[in-house]
């Protein structure tokens, strides 16, 4: 199952709710959600812990737009829109954590 998160982890509980609920699989950060995978934030430790359980991906066009493409936490998997499509295709279902 693919979980898509588009909210900032620093102002919303959405990513946390997703991490606490989902059983594993793929998580993709898009839009404002991409800040979760940058180095040095207050949620970095939480993200690193989650990476043991989930494959964490980030939509690079969204991270580049925010000027943080060079600050990706190691181990996070960068994708472009084609990669996003492939993630959606390779998982049976897709849940957008709106």
């Amino acid at each position: 199952m693919l979980h898509i998160v588009n909210k900032s982890p620093l102002t919303s509980n959405t990513l946390e709710s997703c991490l606490n609920t989902a059983t594993g699989g793929d998580i993709l950060l898009i839009e404002v959600g991409v800040y979760a995978v940058t180095r040095g934030t207050a949620v970095e430790a939480k993200l690193r812990a989650a990476m043991g359980k989930f494959r964490v991906h980030v939509l690079m066009p969204d991270l580049d737009a925010r000027g943080l493409g060079d600050r990706l936490v190691e181990g996070v998997l960068p994708v472009d829109y084609a990669g996003f499509v492939e993630l959606a295709a390779s998982n049976k279902t897709c849940q957008s954590w709106l």
């Binding site: 839009e31 829109y81 499509v85 959606a88 295709a89 897709c94 957008s96 709106l98």
Partner: protein
């Protein structure tokens, strides 16, 4: 693979419509079918033909219309949501059609994958 897309937010205010468009375009370019895009809630505002963004900005409505024309994507606007927000046949952009929520459920049934973009 057959995709259904859901768009919950209007143009310009929130990135959702941009993300949905770029996803749809990438899906088609990579050999998938996008069977239907369902515009729901404020998403119906993507269908206004009166939209006129600044010259140096993207034209979100026209992008959807062009996609529909070139790739036969079915752009469906939720009728109840549209009436609440003043989207009707008289201001409906090319390539969009107005129909009921059943079309969203049908997307869920007929498509291999349903991907939602919203707030």
């Amino acid at each position: 693979m057959k995709f259904g897309i859901v768009v919950n937010e209007g143009p310009y205010q929130h990135q959702a419509s941009d993300s949905a468009y770029l996803f749809t375009k990438a899906a088609i370019e990579n050999g998938h079918e996008v069977w239907r895009v369902f515009f729901y809630h404020d998403g119906v505002n993507n269908a206004s033909k009166l939209t006129e963004p600044p010259q140096d900005d993207r034209h979100i409505v026209n992008r959807w219309s062009k996609l529909a024309e070139e790739h036969k994507v079915d752009l469906v606007v939720c009728v109840a949501a549209a009436l609440r927000r003043g989207i009707k046949d008289e201001n409906l952009a090319q390539g969009f059609r107005i129909s009921g929520l059943g079309q969203l459920v049908e997307s869920g049934i007929k498509c291999d994958r349903l991907v939602t973009f919203g707030d």
